[in-house]
Amino acid sequence: MFSKNSTHHFFQSETLKEVYTFIGMLLFSFLLLNVLLIIPIRFNGDSFFHLSRMESIHGNPLNFLYPQNFLSLGRIGGTTNIFYPVGVLNFIVNLIPTNIGILGTYRLTVVLILYINILSMYSVLRYFIKAPLLNSFLASILWGTLIITFDIGTIGGEILAKIAFPFVAVGLYYFKKRNGWILLSFGLILSISSHILTSLFLIVFTLLYLLVEFIKTKKNKLNFVVKGMKAAIATVLGSQYIIFPMVMLYANNKINTPPQMASAFVDYQLVYLSGIITDPTFIVMAVFIILSIIYEKKYSIGILLFTLSGTTAFIWPYIFNHTILNIIQFPYRLFNWGICLAFVFAIITLSRIQIPIQWKKVVTISLLFLCFLLGTAIHKSFFSKVSNDTGYILTISKEDVIKSFQEGHDGQHLGEYGSFTGTIFNQPEVWSLMNYSDYSPSEGLNDPQTKFLFWDQKAKNIVAHRLTKNANDNIPTTHFKTTASEISFRPTKSISKSTIELPVMGYKANKVKVFINHSEIPFTIQDGRITIDAAVTAKDTVYIKQFIPLWRLIPFFVSTLTIVVLIFLILRKHLFVKSQTFWSKL
């Protein structure tokens, strides 16, 4: 009887409270992002890049398996979906119904990105660290606010990898005592599914952390190594669906990686002390890190090292300027990642403090206020320009979009336009507003340092959707239509039989077919473009179809299986602390 009563009571209060917390966190995400949700918003370069990535995978959860992106970013079949991991983004975007337009999708995606970040922190604190509910709630909304304002200019890239931070941190935290390796590899897979550079950072950090731990371990060193091996294998298998296709394409093609100017690496992007002090997110994180050090009276050396190495305190960028390290683009990223990870460790420590009853209201209100104050950064980044005379919000017009396409603008001009409304996306040319040269075949470019395809003499014909006959005669196309797996168009005039380079990027190892009026014809890949040797009249429609290759499908199954097993293990291996009594037994 007694136990029955207590379960009843349990359902009444504890579970319900838990449910309310989840709803509360969702509400918070909506409230914090209200500026982004309601009015037309401005896009700068990188936000638009991520919007385009969303467009290319939205609608079908398996669209992301197509190597080439036919739907956005110039609609020329770039391979961003291979080289810019879409695992987590794909999961989030496809939770959103397709009938609200891409702008609506973008807005809701940002809300969900924030929510999932909050959730990842919350679940780690609440279920693995077993922190009190209020602490977990407050800590996770603060974490969500900090990272979303931190990355506000480019929501969609690095911020997704932040989902992994709490899992990696708690995995390392529990690595020796319990089966932390499961959480660790789960976290690393999440990170590799979101952002490659962040993952590199996390992997290097994990290795250093484990090395120090290994040296400190006195007994059972073998067990330690076994756990490490398990984590490594699980991570490798679980992230195969990202890594294998990348390796596959990279091995078969010469890929143009994002251009990196050596000057940017050593020059202005390093973090100066004055810059750190005036950035509110840094200050808030630093305060919490200091609090946790005071509370626990010890700190992790690794974090301090990483954090400092991204500043002007160390001279290493000058020395490693021309090495492979260049791929992190800006050394200050190390500082950002370092301080974020340090903050997560600090939160794990601090969240276990029981807040005295009389302080609960004070702490709650102050932190909520702090979150909203930090949230003002969202306004700065997204709020539209307002006309000086009328006070109306300036929006980008259909004419602007078409003009931009015809004049060959490149994406740097995005900031000059007004805000984007939902209707502007009915104009297919909108997807040509941005055309980074990242990940295009090198032979398609005149100058591999070119940042935008429209800047490049050779590549601009692809973006302008022109056919190139015998390498010098460019013929515009009409009726340019795209779906996730197919591009079709007609030339504006008849072309006699010759080599014609189509305005679609060509990658070796991809599975592509070319049709003229439904009859398949052979093709080659020249200058990084799909090239046919045929005659085409103005009435012919050319179709290019892509198929999901085996090297994309098999790793996908392997990874899915691994992730399912990991989740199963997390739930089974009692990592998921069910009750306070369970915790005390440990």
């Binding site: 309601i38 509110p280 004070v362 104050l373 307002v386 006309s387 009328t390 109306y392």
Partner: protein, 571 residues
């Protein structure tokens, strides 16, 4: 015994006064710049300094281009008049009067806070004095001019809100409301909004709803009577004239919101730290503080309501950042109330007193940064000369070009052209302007003739005036040309409802008000002295008497004052 106590109680006031002088030392001793609206308030202060009840004259003949704009009605001047009346009549230099005014404004801001903290909350002198000085320092340096005069009322208002559920809880709410009406209209709108918000929350959560309602109704009645001296003239003039209200641009409304720059402003950071310290000392967060926090958030860009509210009457608050400051200062004072209600150890009080000093220092730096003159290569202070001012006026610059001028010293302020530096079109009759969007008279086709003191004939001929003399209630001038009998526009704004007499050579003549200007139908020779005289209208005097009576009622209702009186009578 009693004398000793009186002596002890008066020391803090002296101390606050000395602190005001010390904190404002750079402002007092150096020539100062007049950024943004400072010149406008300087003009108002100087207009009011010409008489104890000068604010009852609707039109300003003395300063602000000397064209008789009706600022005394639309820009509430009671707080200002009360302070100005205390300035010793040592000098008539405009800059001296302005500086003295700011010192006293600082002093009284602190005194209002001190009275609430020490006499009402009953905190010790050692807590109330540093807190009230801190309050005045923050207030006078963060918000400028009119806003500060309105926000001076916050201590009384906040104390009233805390006691809304008590018997006679209406007294301090009314005092707060009235004082904010006396200082700044937009602030009083925010005050009313806050009061209504508090009332709603009280209705939802308090048990004694009836008493709260009674208190709200009472304070509504009393404050409208107490503020009659402000409200009645505004109503009279706006109904009988079409007034050009200050520019409220939608663009400003949508974009002037507090954002993350918060973190790069030393003053705001210091205020935030003081609030954080206060909350941790008092270990509690009151309902007032929570509401104030939410008001502050509404003034930041964390929300996008301004984008939708820009087409509503809310536009009159001009800049949503005002809401942020209002919330911030309300929060600051609620925190101070909580702090002074907390029992502190001797050591804690010592720490409090001394940690106020660095906080004030931070703010003193910003006074110097914003107002002090720059220094030239030879190490001299850069000050505008009389010639600079003459050139400025003759080049017909106006408005915020004033910020391109160097700092002002006493000698530059004594210049004849000094009152021509800026000529807002605010509160001018709309018909006096060619374009109702002009914010300065000089930039308006029609308004420029008034600003330049030109007589306009019916044929459109502009005739210069000379020997232009202005006193608080009269303006007199001579024409530079002989004019045959015809319809003449005098260079003075005319409002329906004001009491004006026009005289030529001290002989009263008929005049009319057309197109927002005073018209006469006369011939003028070179020796004819035209005099325009204003008198205090009945709609200023009667509400004034009502308001004075309301104050008497409020004071008589105050227990503290009652016991004080009864003691006096006994001795």
């Amino acid at each position: 015994m009693i004398k000793k106590k009186v002596l002890k109680e008066s020391i803090p006031f002296l101390f606050i006064f000395l602190a005001s002088l010390l904190i404002l030392n750079t402002f007092i001793l150096l020539p100062i710049k007049l950024p943004w609206d400072a010149y406008y308030h300087l003009s108002r202060v100087n207009n009011l300094s010409s008489g104890l009840l000068q604010f009852l004259y609707p039109q300003n003949f003395l300063t602000n281009s000397r064209i008789g704009s009706i600022t005394n009605v639309f820009y509430p001047s009671v707080n200002m008049q009360l302070i100005v009346n205390l300035i010793p009549k040592i000098s008539t230099n405009p800059l001296f009067i302005y500086k003295a005014f700011i010192i006293l404004e600082f002093f009284f801001s602190a005194v209002i806070a001190y009275i609430i903290l020490h006499f009402k909350i009953k905190s010790s002198i050692l807590i109330a004095t540093p807190l009230s000085i801190l309050w005045a320092t923050f207030l006078l340096t963060t918000v400028q001019g009119g806003d500060a005069l309105g926000l001076m009322a916050i201590p009384a208002f906040a104390y009233g809100l805390e006691n809304l559920t008590k018997n006679k809880g209406y007294v301090f709410v009314s005092i707060g409301l009235i004082l904010s009406f006396y200082g700044h209209l937009i602030t009083s709108i925010l005050t009313i909004g806050t009061l209504l918000g508090f009332y709603l929350i009280s209705l939802m959560s308090d048990s004694d709803r009836l008493r709260v309602t009674i208190n709200i109704v009472k304070s509504g009645i009393i404050s409208s009577l107490g503020a009659a001296v402000i409200l009645v003239p505004i109503t009279v003039i706006s109904f009988s004239n079409k007034i050009h209200t200050p520019e409220a641009s939608v663009q400003t409304f949508k974009t002037w919101i507090q954002s993350l720059d918060f973190f790069s402003s030393p003053t705001l950071i210091t205020i935030a730290l003081v609030i954080a310290a206060g909350i941790s000392i008092s270990k509690q967060i009151s309902r007032g503080q929570i509401i104030a926090l939410f008001i502050a958030i509404a003034g930041t860009s964390a929300t996008c309501w301004t984008n939708f509210a820009s087409s509503t009457p809310l536009l009159i608050i001009q800049m949503p950042v005002r809401i942020f400051y209002y919330g911030l200062f309300l929060l600051l004072f609620f925190t101070m109330i909580n702090m002074s209600q907390t029992k502190l150890s001797k050591n804690a009080i010592r720490v409090l007193c001394f940690s106020v000093i660095p906080a004030i220092l931070v703010v003193m730096f910003t006074i110097h940064d914003n107002l002090s003159p720059s220094i030239d290569n030879e190490g001299h202070l850069e000050v505008s000369t009389s010639q600079d001012i003459k050139d400025y006026v003759s080049e017909e610059k106006d408005g915020y070009d004033i910020m391109s001028l160097k700092a002002f010293s006493y000698s530059t302020a004594r210049n004849d052209s000094f009152w021509q530096l800026m000529n807002y079109s605010d509160y001018a009759p709309k018909s006096a302007l060619a374009n109702s969007n002009s914010s300065m008279l000089l930039s308006d086709k029609k308004g420029r003739q008034i600003a330049k003191h030109l007589i306009v004939t019916s044929t459109g001929q502009n005739i210069k005036t000379i020997k232009f003399k202005a006193s608080p209630d009269t303006i007199s001038f001579y024409s530079t040309e002989k004019i045959a009998k015809e319809d003449l526009k005098l260079p003075i704004l005319g409002y329906n409802g004001t009491v004006i007499t026009v005289m030529i050579n001290n002989k009263k003549i008929n005049h009319s008000i057309k197109d927002g200007q005073i018209h006469i139908h006369q011939k003028l020779s070179l020796d004819d002295k035209v005099t325009v005289k204003q008198s205090i209208p009945a709609w200023e005097i009667i509400p004034f008497i009502i308001s004075v009576l309301t104050w008497l009622f409020l004071l008589l209702n105050n227990n503290w004052f009652k016991t004080y009186l009864s003691k006096k009578i006994k001795y």
